[in-house]
Each structure stands twice: as structure tokens, then as C-alpha cells.
Symmetry: C2
Subunit: 306 residues, 2 copies
């Protein structure tokens, strides 16, 4: 690790942010945390992180400010709001939003930041809770190359595949490509596992066969076994994924691009949410496809009336 | 390699079969070849393989007979036809069909074979032309365990992930799961690359970011770069893939299983074929999605009339 020890503002310690901030602390950096629900930050505060009551306060006097929040509205408030990082009286030299958010918002934040002589990077990640925990995230970075190089030692603590994609917004656009890939892949994974069940196959043995060849994907190899074991705990929330698919479809529509697979995925994920599963992991897509096919859990109480 | 040297009938030396048979010869086994177009077998004949004018003749006196042909009709003719392997006067002890074919046909062949005291395995593969060339295929095997164990040393020469899935037909069912996974994954790959192009991203840099994380798949990492380089040469033919998707949809329908992603993929691949690209590789799906979006090659001659 060649990074000098720095003072870092970290905003947002949900499933992903908590692991990511933990790696920065473990590397010796001094963190000041702000997150919506303070209790979520307790593990870091117990290890010596400081608490700030707003993103602005967290960023005040920090070398850089990192955000990993939920929705574009949160990103906007975190950086552009009246209590946002860009309002700090001693602002950081670089702000890095690692949330998956709108490319156009990333460009707007970069414009506002540059007017204040602050660098801004959009640096969304892929790899889910496992990648965050193991610091193996893929990090897709948009923004000025100089800022990318300044931030690289810090980003490299959280991920192992950190790629500068181009100007502001290109990190988010790359993440949209990432989500487009996942969306259709997940449909295939669920449909494949339902087919396997109907055919009477042993699903884990099937994954052993198909996961290593041309049908292999991170999704089948990591989320497939969770589905088989009925583990729908969130690595990544359905409702966050629906947000991402909405951004991707909006961007595609703006570019007059028809993406029928992505549209189908959005519809199916909406069904998952409609069934009350928005706070489960993305592998809960299986539940919607089971329900469509009458393969969901049998009714607890069959009617005995007549 | 612990396999005793054997006399093997090999039927079908197309893109895949040629590499697979080549590995068996390189391991020292004696091959007798039959294939529809003799010229396709020349590289093997030049290395000393014998030629037979029918599957029956190839199988006569062989220890085992392997087929890697095109369509279920070909599989049926190869093994059950009047010039098929099961008509050999000195039949092999095991016949192995490695073509992707109907599960119900695999069961029928096994039934006919067993009545003649011959073992039958369905052992379709995944891994495409690259997997065949590098002997890294995933091989999914259905049939009696004793036959599986007898064939394992031979199968292990052609692949590195050889899994016994269960009774006759389960190899083919597992391969259907494989194709279901690929079908939707390919939609995601094409849509992701079109989005990247519209967003002005560098597509190879995008693959570098997304291929290593939660969006990673064999398809994006192997076929994605071919699409970027406009290389639509067949590793696996579109028309063969459409055959497979048809089998999977037939089987799903028989099991009253709705698979909307697979249906969409079939429709899009039909469009590829309708556009005259049935003999290109499966990565030609990109061409259909480009055409839908008016992103195909510009017209050569714009009208200058009026």
C-alpha cells in the first residue's frame, strides 16, 4: 500500500459502504462517517471512526469525500445539497461518488465541483456484498485523469479492478452496461433453475456442469446456489436494482435505443417488488418466475369449504 | 492418462467434432471416422484415422462409438437408423451421443441399446469451439453410472469438467439448462454493447470493467470482444442454437413452464436467421439488435432522386 494516510469523509454505510469503509480504516486512514441511520455506522465508530451530523461536516477538512448512498436523490443531497460536501468551508480536493446513479447527475456534480476548484469522480462498483467484503470490487471511474490518479491508491484498497473509463459520467454509463448484463443474465439463471427443477435434475450438480463452461457467469455461480438454498438475503436489494434498471432504460430511451431484454427484466423485477420482496436480494427474481408458473410455495391453508 | 488405448468410432467432424476427435487421436486411440462430408474429416484421415462409409461400419468392432452431429434427426439416424451404430454386427459396448439433442430421444436410444446389451450415454458439451480446441469442455452425462465410469477416461481427454448428472436424458436436460442460461445472457451482452456504443464508451475498456465483476460471464468475456471486432465467424452456429432453443421450449411447454426470457431469445435469434445469418456464430445476435435499432451498416447508396 503506497497511499499516504489520509482523512476521508465516508457517507453511507449500508451493506456495501460498511465493508468498503472498513477496508479504508484497516489500511490506516482516518474516517469521518455520516449515514442516514447512525446505528448502521456503529461498527466503524467502535473502531475509532468519527461521526459527523451531515455530509458537509464530514467533508470539512477531509482530503477526500466518498459517498455510497442509495438513490440519485441521495447523491444529489450528499454533494449538491445545502448540507452537502461541496458546502464544506474547507472542502476536500476530490469527491468520489461510488453510488450507482444517473450519468447526467455525475456530470452536473463535476461541473459544480470544478467551478469550486474541486475534482469529482463517478466511481460506481460491481461485485456485490461479496466483492465489497473481500475488496475485490470492480470500480468504473469517470472524471479527469489527474483526479483518477490521485484517487487510485484509495480506490485500490476497496477493489482490484479499477479502470478509468473516460470523462465525467462514463463511470456511471459503464455501470449501466454492467446492470444491463446482469438483468438478462439473471432471467436466464432463474429460468434455467426452474427448468432443472421441472426436469428432476439435481440443481447443484447442474450448476457444477454449466457454471464452468460457455453458460458460466458470476450470477449462476454465486447467486444460483443461494437460490437453490432458498437464501434470498440481500447482497444487493431488488429495489436498488429496479432503480438502476430505470436509469438505464431512461438513458437508452433518451438515446433512442430499444432494449427488449432489459425491458423484460424490469417488468419481472417490478413483479418481485409487487409481491412484497423489494428488500430481498436480486436473486429473489426466482420468486416472481415461480409465481408466474404456479411453482411458489403451496398455500398454507387449502379451502375446505364447499 | 490412464485410459487403455481403444478403438473408437467417431461420427461427425464439424467445428466441434474435428477438435474432439483430434484429442482422442493425440492420446493414441485408434479412430474410425464417418461424417456427412468426407472432406471435413481429411485432417484426421491424414493423421491415420480410418474412414467408414456409415455409422454402422464405423462402429463395427469398435470399443465405443461417439457421435457429434447436427440435429436430433441426425442423432436418430446415426444410432437408430438402418445404417446406425446399433446395427453393427460387432457393436461397441458403449455408445455416447455428444450432440445437443432431445432428452426424450436420448432415453429412446438408451432403451433400444439396453435391449441389445449395449450401454448408452447422452453427453452433450459446453464450451464452444474454444473449449473443444483446448479440451476444456464441460461434459454433462446422463446414463447408467457403470457406463459413465467406463467412458470417463475417454471423456476426460476431451473435457475437464465431466459430471454424471443422472439417468439417461439428464445430460441433455442439463444442456438445455446451459442453453437457457446462454440465451438470456447473450441478450444482455448485445444490449450492453449497444448501450456502450450509444454512450460513446470504449467497448473493450468497458468489458475490462464489467467482465471481472458481478456482470461477468463467459459470453461477455469471450464473445464480447469478437462482437466489438465485428468477428461473426461461427464458434457455434446460429441455426444450431435455434434448434437447441426450440428443444428447450418444447420441453418447457411439455412441463407447463413459461420461460419469457427464453422465448424472447428465440424470437431474436429467429430474426438473425431471417436476416440471412443462420451460418454465423451466436454472437451475430448483435446484428439483429442493431437492425431493430437502425444501427446496422448505413445504406450503400442514398437516393439522389427528386
Amino acid at each position: 500500500m503506497t497511499a499516504e494516510l489520509q482523512k476521508i469523509a465516508f457517507i453511507g454505510t449500508g451493506v456495501m459502504g460498511l465493508s468498503m469503509a472498513g477496508h479504508l480504516m484497516a489500511a490506516g486512514h482516518r474516517l469521518t462517517i455520516h449515514t442516514r441511520t447512525k446505528a448502521r455506522a456503529e461498527p466503524l465508530l467502535a473502531q475509532g471512526a468519527l461521526w459527523a451530523k451531515s455530509p458537509r461536516d464530514a467533508a470539512d477538512g477531509a482530503d477526500l469525500a466518498i459517498s455510497m448512498v442509495g438513490f440519485p436523490e441521495d447523491v444529489e443531497a450528499t454533494h449538491l445539497g445545502s448540507a452537502g460536501t461541496l458546502q464544506a468551508s474547507r472542502p476536500p480536493s476530490v469527491i468520489i461518488d461510488m453510488t450507482t446513479s444517473r450519468p447526467s447527475l455525475a456530470i452536473r456534480i463535476a461541473d459544480v465541483a470544478i467551478a469550486k476548484n474541486i475534482q469529482s469522480l463517478d466511481a460506481p462498483v460491481s461485485g456485490g456484498d461479496i466483492g465489497a467484503r473481500n475488496a475485490t470490487l470492480s470500480i468504473m471511474v469517470g472524471g479527469e485523469r489527474a483526479a483518477f490518479e490521485e484517487a487510485l491508491p484509495i480506490l485500490s484498497i476497496m477493489g482490484k479492478n479499477v479502470v478509468h473509463q473516460g470523462a465525467a459520467g462514463t463511470g456511471q454509463h459503464t455501470k449501466m452496461v454492467n446492470q444491463i448484463l446482469i438483468a438478462s443474465t439473471m432471467i436466464g439463471v432463474c429460468e434455467g433453475l426452474l427448468y432443472a427443477r421441472k426436469a428432476g435434475l439435481d440443481p447443484l450438480k447442474v450448476i457444477q456442469s454449466v457454471g464452468a463452461g460457455a453458460a458460466g457467469s458470476w450470477s449462476i455461480n454465486n447467486l444460483g446456489p443461494r437460490m437453490v438454498n432458498r437464501d434470498f438475503n440481500p447482497g444487493f436489494y431488488v429495489e436498488h436494482f429496479i432503480k438502476d434498471l430505470g436509469i438505464a432504460l431512461d438513458e437508452a430511451s433518451r438515446a433512442t435505443l430499444a432494449l427488449p431484454g432489459l425491458e423484460l427484466a424490469r417488468q419481472l423485477y417490478e413483479a418481485v417488488r409487487a409481491q412484497g420482496h423489494g428488500r430481498l436480494g436480486t436473486q429473489a427474481l426466482l420468486l416472481a418466475l415461480e409465481k408466474i408458473n404456479g411453482m411458489d410455495a403451496p398455500l398454507e391453508t387449502a379451502s375446505r369449504n364447499d
